[in-house]
Amino acid sequence: MEYWKDESEPIKAFVELFQRALHDEELAQGMKKVNQLIWFDYTEDGPNCSFHVDSRGGQTKIGAGKPEEQPDLVMSLSADDAHRSWSNKLNPVMAITRRKIRVKGSATGLLKLATKLKKIAVVYEGVLKDLGWEDKIMK
């Protein structure tokens, strides 16, 4: 991995990112609209390198690892590309076309979140700063 020391680092950052996003009204609303159980699967970088977001039923829950229930959508990619993606430095369409991101299930909900990527990147930068990982911030 180019950006991460071990598989726990990216999950720590990404779970925190989503927790903080819940405190932003616009992003929280955006996640509600997704209304899916999504598994962000980075296990190509380690067996525990994944997290999930469950925004079904109007409440959003975030947890490390694979969800117990069958996810509506699985997004598989490397933890480095996930870092680029949350930093808004990865064109998701291009990444999917070139198989850097593999998607299983309905991505309709995710399209709603895609429009918020710019704002997510701002929150993510704050997360990296607070975790003392300013060196990981992409300019």
């Binding site: 064109n91 999917i96 309709t108």
Partner: protein, 623 residues
């Protein structure tokens, strides 16, 4: 001959004569089918000095070699000829069910000249081709006529029908298959109308099998391609929410035009008009073209309100934007009704939307007054007036307003003057589709300008290439493009024009074929038609089609000076993601001309370039 049938129907409506003809086999190999083959046929038989609405004008329907194969995205066909809207070469593509039926009946295409003395329809039943009186259908809407034809002949008869707009020679009249699938662009419904031809009806009772060069290899390829196309992310998204699935995303990138391209951002509109909202509110079920597993078509019902419509064909992305944000409206129900009315009257929603949006701006600026509009007030977002008053006036050419707007935005702007051409948003007279290149991608600006058809988003796949949906390392397309710059755009356009010409000549859906790799394309042509191509030879065929269409426009009087964009699109956007960014258009065009060996004055390929593509005969007619 493999893939193709080798036969076309040639009809002279003035004389009532019908002949079956064969085309030279090398036409197919060199120009593929559809858009390319139609151009080559016209080059051979057509006359460049004839008015597109004169009886002698030629109207060509042409299939590609893949029509009728049980393959997602392959059941499209082309119509071509001199466009009454633009005055130069034009073509338009249509999905649905006509192409396979024509192939099964034993034909690759239909070439029509003349004018029937009375309203007629062409009936094709295998080897029997006849002209039948259509007096009872004349003057009626497409929905009624399609229903009537199905009742008269049977539901398995496939129909192409024009509406009142085609009969009255509205310059952007369409031809509709099964009341749902449109040959939408460039006004060929008016050409049919000028020939007194209300409909073409085809049924293959004996269903001839398509003979294939290598049936076993094709079957194996088909087994791979169909699930690959169906399961692709873009396909599942479009199945779920239609071609407007990513409208919301487009608003945020500045791709979606607002109020006649005066704005590139309107946040509340994004969710109101996007595909998932259409699904939630009005979708009753999905529709599909023949053999397509994607099924991106919408069937909708609006149960109540001023725009209530019964269950039937729903709007595509282009219609939603043209009758939504482009006119300053975010009423999704209105777009459903507008689309239905346009279908029934037989007008292209893109050109109608562009023309009406132009008129709204002209009215706002005082360049059009109530005296010009028969007292009708044209205001942004007033969709009841658009649907109940303006569209019927256009289709009937009723009054000053109907006559003016039936000509299209560029012509209407020239008529009223007062600098209103500055905000008629068109390319070579064809209204720009609902992708603003300032946000959608600067390469799109280039391909809008250099397209033979006029500004068109599906002439070439530049839009998809700029958004990152294409990756073709085998032919050198590995660029990671940034939409809002000119970097690598001329180089990309060189690949795009060949690919787009292949797609439109093979008559393949540009949504479905994004999943087809270059080696798979080559395999398709070789297993179906036995061309024994490699990737270079296939790309050369695409370039040949592009070159031929440039030569044709040159013979209509177009030169390099006509490869331009409306001034509005060259002004920096005033808001949204592309705010303040200027398109470096001249530099892109110059580089593209250089890479494609196009003469900087004439706009046509050099004699040497034509020779390299095996077009010595064509070269001798222009150099």
């Amino acid at each position: 001959m493999w893939g193709n049938t080798g036969r076309i129907i040639r009809v002279d409506l003035s004389r009532g004569s019908i002949e079956l003809q064969s085309l030279p086999e090398d036409y197919y190999r060199k120009y593929i089918g559809g858009s390319g083959l139609a151009a080559r046929v016209f080059w051979e038989w057509g006359n460049f000095s004839i008015d597109p609405l004169a009886p002698e004008a030629m109207l060509i329907f042409m299939n590609g070699p893949l029509a009728g194969l049980r393959l997602s995205g392959a059941s499209r066909s082309s119509v071509a000829g001199r466009s009454p809207l633009t005055g130069h070469w034009g073509d338009s593509s249509c999905g649905g069910y006509f192409a396979p039926e024509l192939k099964y009946a034993g034909y690759d295409g239909i070439v029509i000249t003349g004018r029937a003395p009375n309203p007629a329809l062409m009936l094709i039943e295998d080897d029997r081709v006849a002209l039948v009186d259509a007096g009872d259908y004349w003057g009626k809407g497409i929905e009624q006529v399609t229903g009537g034809l199905k009742k008269a002949y049977g539901k398995n008869y496939r129909t192409l029908v024009i509406g009142p707009a085609g009969e009255r020679l509205v310059k952007y009249a369409i031809i509709l298959n099964e009341g749902h699938h449109a040959f939408g662009r460039a006004g060929f419904g008016a050409v049919m109308g000028s020939k007194n031809l209300k409909a073409i009806v085809v049924n293959a009772k004996n269903k001839r099998e398509v003979s294939l060069a290598d049936p076993i290899a094709f079957a194996a390829l088909r087994k791979e391609l169909n699930p690959k196309i169906k399961q692709a992310l873009a396909s599942t998204v479009m199945h779920e929410n239609g071609t407007a699935a990513n409208l919301e995303g487009g608003v945020h990138t500045g791709d979606v035009p607002i109020r006649n391209f005066t704005s590139n951002f309107w946040e509340e509109m994004a969710e109101a008009l996007t595909g998932s909202t259409l699904t939630e509110k009005y979708l009753t079920h999905h529709g599909a073209c023949a053999f397509c597993g994607v099924a991106c078509k919408r069937v909708v019902e609006v149960k109540e309100g001023p725009f209530a419509i019964p269950k039937g064909p729903g709007p595509e992305y282009e219609t939603i934007v043209a009758f939504g944000s482009l006119m300053g409206s975010m009423d999704l129900a209105a777009t459903c009704k507008a689309g239905r009315v346009c279908n029934n009257l037989g007008v292209d929603t893109i050109s109608a939307g562009g023309t009406i949006a132009w008129a709204m701006e002209a009215f706002e600026k005082g360049h059009l007054t109530k005296e010009d509009t028969d007292g009708v007030e044209l205001h942004w977002g007033d969709m009841e007036t658009v649907i109940d008053v303006v569209l019927p006036k256009i289709a009937d050419r009723e009054g000053k307003l109907g006559q003016l707007l039936a000509e299209g935005s560029a012509s209407a702007a020239h008529q009223i003057g007062q600098d209103s051409i500055r905000y008629a948003v068109h390319g070579k007279g064809l209204e720009v589709p609902m992708h603003d290149p300032r946000g959608g991608g600067h390469g799109l600006a280039l391909t809008y300008a250099i397209s033979h058809r006029g500004a068109c988003h599906v002439a070439y796949p530049m839009l998809f290439m700029e958004m990152g949906a294409c990756y073709y390392p085998e032919i050198g397309f590995e660029f990671e493009l940034e939409p809002m710059t000119d970097q690598y755009k001329p180089e990309t356009a060189v690949i795009a024009v060949s690919l787009g010409s292949i797609e439109n000549s093979a008559c393949y859906c540009q949504f479905a074929d994004r999943e087809i790799s270059i080696p798979e394309w080559v395999q398709l042509f070789n297993t179906v038609a036995g061309y024994q191509w490699d990737a270079d030879e296939m790309m050369r065929a695409g370039r040949r089609v592009f070159y031929l269409q440039r030569l044709m426009n040159y013979r209509y009087g177009l030169t390099s000076k006509d490869d331009v964009l409306s001034s509005r699109l060259l002004e920096p956007a005033e808001d949204g993601a592309p705010e303040g960014i200027e398109i470096n258009f001249s530099a892109m065009k110059e580089k593209f001309y250089e890479l494609m060996n196009l003469d900087p004055e004439k706009g046509i390929p050099s004699g040497e370039a034509l020779q390299k593509c095996g077009m010595g005969e064509e070269a001798s007619q222009v150099w």
